[in-house]
Subunit: 301 residues, 2 copies
């Protein structure tokens, strides 16, 4: 039975992927907390970065990430940080994601409260991005991160890059942080029966937004280690607007052009129920369907 | 967030569909009960029958149906009952259905406890059917109901029709009751763009179990009142074994044979999430998928 508890996900990214003691200091903050579950975390040496995934009640999630941010700032010195992933601070980015019984608007509000609080508490400039952005030119995280930590020193002085919260100058050791609400991402791999990189790249190019394809679809062609076959590795950035089935059917059309075919597909990590149900409704041509008809959605009083 | 509460559905059928006072007496038992939710009920004059749908915690559901059975027996006299639907008693049939965090085996156990208790308490002979059946020849409800209330007087005396619980003779006013655990049914309509009854009947015949079709599929061709077009009206009796997509794809194949097509489909009433997800996985060719990957399935500690 579904209960009415509000649930958000948060995926803070920390600029430390090598020093296991420091990583442990940060990750440990998320362990054994009431109302917050540590879903996963992974650190990458090359990127020198650790991403944590937690879920739970909005206020508790906010509080525990505030605490972890304090630990990260104590442990990370951006002046000596090197890594392959673009970053602007010790806590590089903090995305909040609505999961259950909570609207995007409420999560935007939560992210702004978080941003205000940590900006003041830790004296770190904060940029609101994506759904939380206060200006359209800050919606895209890549634009905020352009120039990275090293470039921020100057960039922050330009009036158009005045932070949304916190001080108007860079925190030398902690850098700056991007905070925002966004839709859950779906990592969707479509495996092809081809070893031809050209085909995988061409299909990826055609289906993704930046190549003229679907609005909320990012895609690259990558070699599948096992058999040397290629995979279209897709990030669905808003499954409510660009559906799994649209992407799948578009790839189905594209493979025909090259005389290859789809072996299967995979979801990497988590997927919201409604993203799958949406595709079931499409393929079964189910009309007049309401989510009230889903047995598990009936709420006990 | 999903919690771990066990939930069953129960759909007791009462042999009264005309006297609104009596119906209200029965239905009222299900209102405002802790841990039990009255989902729906409908009474039919021609069938002279009322079906109630409730959901909730297993023991509470059992208790409230026991109470309602008492009220029904006080209000219904089978000696004067007439109606188009086959029936053997005042409480004709009591199906229990697993919904969440509960196995079929547990629901079978629950249905047997219920059967034993009401058989003794109300002095009504009880037949266990479907998953709860103690003998294979009692699995099919239609076999138990054959001869109906009127025929039961003699039928019950045959050794092979000795009741599973309660007295070995018919309760004159209350008749007998069938009790069992079963899978959730899915009522699935596929609407065709044809006014030709022959086509609808032929397709229904081909897809249903009794006609050589799919094992857990019942189907009939019915005229859609609005436009005179025909609908394949399907009951999926075990969606884990016969999938929605199998039925849909089989109808897709059959319509080609007759040069007609599918307009759309509809789910009537409730459907379990997993029945829809199963079809999404099929059509998206999603392999290696685990229900742990569904965001809403993550259980907080």
């Amino acid at each position: 039975m579904v209960d009415g508890i509000k649930v958000v996900q948060c995926l803070p990214n920390f600029s430390e992927g090598r020093d296991l003691n420091k990583i442990e200091n940060i990750v440990n903050v998320f362990r054994r907390r009431d109302g917050v579950k540590l879903i996963d975390y992974n650190n990458d040496r090359d990127l020198n970065r650790t991403m944590v995934i937690i879920m739970g009640e909005p206020q508790r999630v906010k509080d525990v990430v505030i605490e972890a941010m304090g630990v990260a700032i104590e442990n990370i010195d951006m002046r000596i940080h090197k890594g392959q992933h673009p970053r602007i601070g010790a806590v590089d980015v903090v995305p909040f994601v609505p999961i259950k019984n909570i609207s995007m608007l409420e999560v935007v509000q939560l992210s702004r409260e978080f941003a205000k609080e940590v900006g003041e508490k830790y004296n770190v400039p904060i940029y609101l991005y994506e759904r939380s952005a206060a200006r359209p030119e800050r919606e895209n995280l890549a634009d905020i991160r352009k120039g990275q930590y090293e470039g921020m020193m100057e960039k922050i002085k330009r009036p158009e890059w005045k932070p949304d919260f916190g001080p108007s100058e860079l925190n030398i050791t902690a850098g700056a942080t991007a905070v925002g609400a966004r839709m859950p991402l779906i990592a969707f791999n479509i495996n092809l029966n081809t070893k031809d990189e050209f085909i995988a790249k061409a299909i990826s190019q055609n289906i993704r937004y930046s190549g003229g394809g679907l609005r909320f679809c990012k895609a690259i062609g990558v070699k599948n280690c096992n058999k040397g076959l290629f995979t279209i590795s897709i990030n669905m950035t808003d499954y409510n607007k660009t559906s799994l089935y649209s992407v799948f059917e578009m790839v189905k059309c594209e493979v025909k052009r090259f005389g290859v075919s789809i072996i299967n597909s995979e979801i990497v990590g988590l997927v919201p129920t409604e993203a799958l149900i949406d595709s079931a409704l499409y393929y079964l041509q189910l009309d007049n369907f309401s989510s009230d008809q889903i047995l598990e959605n009936i709420i006990m009083e």
